[in-house]
């Protein structure tokens, strides 16, 4: 853990205990999850007992205590998307990736999440991957979309090797 980076985030909010949510959000954005040591450190710096920090970290859905995948697949389950068949897309993703919402694939490539409305109801059903929106989705289109990200993965891995 890079303590100085964490401390910089804490300083941004003047180490104000009321800003705990914002601090944890900035850390989550940077580290992609909230490691235990980081939470312990934040608790010490802000003088908030760890039991409260853990309560906050598990209450809000924005936070993850487990490392997230490189690509975050977000299926919108807002009412409009639901009515247009969004649950079937979740099922199809489950079939293709072997994970359920909230879980990450073993190779840490994909994390599957559902969200209760992305606010893009006209284009529903909507799936957002890494901030990119895929509108008017259907179970049949899932494989093709996943392929896009899998091929990017392959390039990344090949590039490294």
């Amino acid at each position: 853990m890079d303590v100085s980076a964490i401390d910089a985030i804490i300083e941004r909010y003047e180490a104000n205990p009321s800003a705990i949510l914002a601090i944890l959000q900035d850390i989550q954005a940077k580290e992609k999850y909230l490691p235990k040591e980081v939470l312990e450190h934040v608790g010490e710096r802000l003088r908030i007992p760890l039991n409260k920090i853990y309560r906050i970290a598990t209450f809000y859905r924005a936070f993850s205590l487990q490392p997230r995948g490189r690509h975050e697949i977000c299926v919108c389950l807002g009412t409009a998307c639901h009515v247009r068949g969004a649950p079937r897309i979740v099922d199809q993703l489950n079939l293709q990736l072997g994970i359920r919402p909230g879980e990450t694939t073993k190779d840490r490539q994909f994390t599957l999440e559902t969200v209760n409305c992305l606010g893009v109801c006209a284009a529903g059903p909507v799936v957002a991957i890494d901030g990119q929106y895929f509108g008017k989705m259907s179970p049949g289109k899932v494989e093709g979309v996943l392929k896009q990200f899998r091929s990017r993965e392959k390039e990344r891995v090949d590039g490294k090797a």
Binding site: L50, N51, Y54
Partner: protein
């Protein structure tokens, strides 16, 4: 003192007090699980529902969180209240069917059957353990975590409660006795929080009287000398 009516009789409560404590003082039985006089009222179990009539309007509310006010009329046993209480008791029983205290309370309310799939939980999520630990003891060892039907009381990360001083207050205050404390030889364990601490021995009588971790915390906080707790409370006379 603030005066008002409860079940047709005049009652009194001090400023800032709540309806439940006034009722208990007056000998009026209102079932409750998450209320304890040592901590702030929380309003989680919803059993202590009563109907409060004020300015011609009535509302159903938990007695433990409603502040005493002049001129209100409180009814603790109306049909509406009883109906709601029974349903809540049934829901708690469905959640924790094995708890003796819950079985007993349900029986007293005349609940014969549970119309829901029974779960196998034991904790009723009243939060008394966590609230006592935070507000009275100040150890901050356990708290609620997650939300909705995944809510639970736990030490951070579900691991051993590292801030726990094994004082046993949570064990005492738990209405369904699911926390548990064991003493074996020179060790005390708070079972539910997986916390085992070595006990300190009295230099005079040789009894194990308090966990080392606990007395060290007290010594630190109060700035006491190193040998302050070498003799147990009984032997100090």
């Amino acid at each position: 003192m603030i005066s008002f009516m409860m079940d047709g009789q005049p009652v009194e409560g001090k400023e800032g007090g709540n309806l439940l404590e006034v009722a208990l003082d007056a000998g009026i039985e209102i079932p409750h699980l998450c209320y304890h006089e040592s901590v702030k009222p929380y309003g989680a179990c919803r059993l202590c529902l009563v109907e409060v009539f004020r300015n011609g309007r009535s509302r159903m509310t938990t007695a433990c969180t409603y502040p005493v006010q002049n001129g209100i009329e409180v009814h603790t046993g109306t049909e509406k209240v009883l109906r709601a209480r029974r349903m809540i008791m049934e829901l708690i029983l469905a959640m924790c069917p094995g708890d003796k205290k819950i079985q007993q309370m349900a029986q007293e309310m005349g609940i014969e059957e549970v119309r829901f799939k029974k779960e196998e939980k034991d904790c009723i999520l009243c939060g008394l353990c966590a609230r006592v630990c935070d507000e009275v003891v100040g150890a901050h060892a356990i708290q609620f975590a997650s939300r909705g039907d995944r809510r639970e009381v736990t030490p951070p990360f579900g691991e051993e409660a590292k801030n726990c001083i094994a004082c046993g207050a949570c064990v005492l205050v738990c209405p369904v006795d699911v926390i548990g404390m064991k003493e074996e030889g020179d060790e005390r364990t708070i079972v539910r929080w997986k916390r085992t601490l070595k006990m300190k021995q009295c230099k005079v009588c040789g009894n194990y009287f308090a966990p080392w971790f606990q007395v060290e915390k007290f010594r630190e906080k109060a700035g006491l000398p190193k040998d302050f707790f070498d003799v147990c409370y009984s032997c100090r006379g």
